[in-house]
């Protein structure tokens, strides 16, 4: 009897593990589609839309250097609005610990070290939280495949991600991944009160060399406040020859071309 129970327990645990592994492997295929770009220079237009439909624009020039183990470097320099032009945010990502971040304030000529602990905080006043844009390293989440779903006529795998890092604003994230293209199409974020908070939609995927697929438009809608942010990428260039020296506190002081 005991032997039967132990075998049954082993079978149950194996099937659970298979489900998690299946979820992770599906998500990993989609994740890999967004990697391998080497480096990137892109102009980002972020439209902040309030519940009344009023829109403000934040324009930035973004540089990214892909590095081993997900420790990417990222430099964001504001182009608009005028009062924050040339303000720069430098991030050295760390999948295991808090990212290292610096802020360059051109009026004061100062580079200030800042805390990246507030992952749930809004980036640029948008509906994108810092944790939404700081790189979704695979090891930061656990994955469970919930099943299949249909999204606008496209068959998708439905994956539930749960953050493994501290200070996340989410308890879980439901992700729709296209079965035919292995691309993330939609994510739903549940907040710490277990209420649906935001919906993120990825559109206009474009293929780049080396099998890299990147979205040209990402929309994040806050279902609780009625606000929305739309992020559009233009003038995207990959493998432009960026180096680690382009991501230093000294390089923040110079306008990006």
């Amino acid at each position: 009897m005991l032997k039967l129970l132990s075998i049954a327990g082993l079978l149950i645990s194996l099937s659970s593990a298979e489900e998690n592994t299946d979820g992770r492997s599906i998500y990993e295929r989609a994740y890999r589609h967004g990697r391998g770009f080497g480096d990137e220079r892109v102009t980002a237009y972020t439209y902040l839309i309030n519940a009344g439909g009023d829109t403000v624009l934040r324009k930035t020039r973004n540089l990214t250097l892909e590095r081993p183990d997900g420790k990417d470097y990222n430099l964001i320099q504001f182009l608009e609005p005028a009062d924050v032009r040339n303000t720069s945010l430098l991030t050295h990502q760390d999948p295991k610990e808090n990212d290292a971040q610096w802020l360059f304030l051109p009026e004061l000529r100062r580079v200030k070290k800042i805390s990246s602990q507030n992952k749930s905080g809004a980036f640029m006043g948008s509906e994108f939280a810092y944790e939404d844009i700081s790189g979704n390293n695979l090891d930061k989440f656990s994955y469970t495949r919930l099943g299949e779903a249909d999204l606008a006529g496209e068959k998708c795998d439905l994956i539930e991600k749960k953050p493994l890092y501290e200070n996340s604003g989410y308890t879980k994230i439901k992700t729709w991944i296209s079965r035919s293209r292995s691309l993330v199409l939609r994510q739903e974020f549940t907040d710490r009160k277990n209420t649906l908070l935001k919906v993120q939609v990825f559109e206009s995927y474009r293929e780049f060399p080396n099998g890299v697929w990147l979205p040209q438009k990402i929309t994040m809608a806050n279902l609780q406040t009625g606000k929305k942010s739309i992020l559009e990428f233009k003038e995207r260039q990959l493998k432009v020859g960026l180096k680690p020296t382009d991501f230093t506190t000294e390089s923040m002081e110079r306008p990006l071309q």
Binding site: L108, Q117, P244, T249
Partner: protein
């Protein structure tokens, strides 16, 4: 040569063709200061209105060479001496991966703290324009920077300044006149005495090493040789009977120091220290030799995220600033030396919305002398280009002799700025 505006009309980026790009930003402002207290000197105003503007243009080329011109204008209809037409930056900047060279008028900041900087010693300040928040002045200098390539983030800089620029100090009639209310005292900030035969043409130099260690600690070490930026106010020995004439005295110093910044969770720790020694022998009014001293500012910043509402943060700052001569009377020093025993405390509430609203309240207290300064500021963007700011600065407690001229110069200020 093809010309094209890059982006919508609000953008300030102009493609000039052949890889040349001109980026610019600027703005205009109108500001009013009101002083509720009666002035110590009838020549001091109760109300000051100012207009001003800035324009900053950077030309980038495909030859690793940039050119920058950053100028400003300031107009005070009441006090002509507060009018300004200045170039803060006018330089050429050549930059490669491991090497940079910049020459011309430029402003450099080594500051990491929020209150009194011990490391910002290269540029002169304009105390006459705003004593409470002095504007840095561009200095003619050359800078060579050597940078590490690869993964480590290290840098070594060399500075050469061929000449010295005097401080711009408040004069008679300025609301922050150092000698307001003093009878029989004359002060001419332009009558400078230099403790070097080269006078303003004494060359100055600096070396600075900076590194980011393990992504957690930003550290810099620096050495400077040149005139101390803020002068000693020296009484002229040949002053006429019944009057004391004060002049400014600039003394060459050697300054060696360090700065650091480090983030641990929500805590940002930072500090500056500078060890200063006079190049020539400097005597105090009592005739004793003034010894070298160590000045420092150490502190932290802690942020409470989403404290009262989502995405609204409260930052708390505490800094101690002082030097190893704290407690000594001015008669035993080279002259009045401020910030020898002070504590700075501030709270900043940021609303973090598109209006960029923030409310800041801070105090600076001399814990030995008892002087207390309280400041506050509320700022908000009305549109993407228009911002408003309300400020107050109050000399809430004035106990020391040196602060007496300012005891009635608490002020309220309002500023509207339009940026493009």
């Amino acid at each position: 040569m093809a010309l094209a505006w890059a982006g919508p009309a609000a953008s300030q980026s102009l493609e000039l063709g052949r890889g040349l790009q001109l980026q610019s930003r600027g703005g205009v402002f109108a500001e009013g200061w009101f002083f509720p207290g009666d002035p110590l000197d009838p020549r001091q105003p109760d109300f000051i209105a100012s207009l001003g503007g800035t324009q900053d243009a950077i030309l980038t080329t495909p030859y690793h060479l940039d050119m920058r011109a950053n100028g400003r204008i300031h107009f005070d209809p009441q006090e002509r001496r507060r009018n300004r037409l200045a170039m803060d930056d006018l330089y050429l900047d050549y930059h490669r991966e491991a090497f940079e060279a910049r020459a011309g008028y430029q402003i450099v900041s080594w500051k990491v703290v929020e209150s009194v900087s011990r490391a910002d010693i290269l540029n002169q300040d304009d105390w006459e324009l705003d004593f409470m928040d002095p504007q840095k002045l561009g200095e003619l200098s050359a800078r060579v920077r050597l940078k590490s390539t690869g993964e480590s983030n290290q840098m070594l800089e060399f500075y050469y300044l061929p000449s010295f620029r005097r401080a711009m100090l408040p004069r008679t009639g300025n609301r922050y006149d150092f000698f307001a209310g003093a009878q029989g005292v004359e002060f001419d900030p332009d009558a400078a005495q230099y403790d070097s035969r080269w006078r303003a043409w004494r060359p100055q130099g600096a070396i600075r090493y900076a590194a980011n260690l393990f992504e957690k600690l930003d550290l810099s070490l620096f050495y400077f040789n040149g005139y101390r930026r803020f002068p000693t106010l020296a009484a002229e020995p040949s002053s006429p009977p019944g009057r004391i004439v004060f002049r400014t005295r600039y003394t060459p110093v050697n300054v060696a120091g360090a700065t650091f910044q480090s983030v641990l969770g929500n805590w940002l720790w930072k500090g500056e220290a500078a060890y200063s020694s006079f190049e020539n022998e400097v005597l105090s009014p009592l005739g004793t030799r003034v010894a070298p001293y160590l000045a420092y500012t150490l502190g932290f910043e802690y942020t409470f995220y989403s404290l009262l509402a989502a995405d609204q943060d409260l930052g708390a700052i505490l800094e101690l600033t002082g030097d190893t001569d704290a407690g000594k009377g001015t008669a035993r020093l080279e002259g009045y030396r401020p910030f020898r025993s002070d504590a700075f405390m501030a709270l900043r509430y940021a609303f973090n919305g598109t209006a960029n609203q923030s409310l800041i309240v801070g105090t600076l207290v001399d814990y030995l002398q008892g002087d207390l300064l309280v400041q506050g500021e509320f700022s908000r963007k009305v549109t993407d280009n228009l911002a408003l700011k309300l400020q107050f600065a109050s000399f809430a407690l004035v106990k020391s002799d040196e602060m007496q001229p300012f005891r009635r110069s608490s002020r309220l200020a309002a500023k509207a700025a339009y940026n493009w």
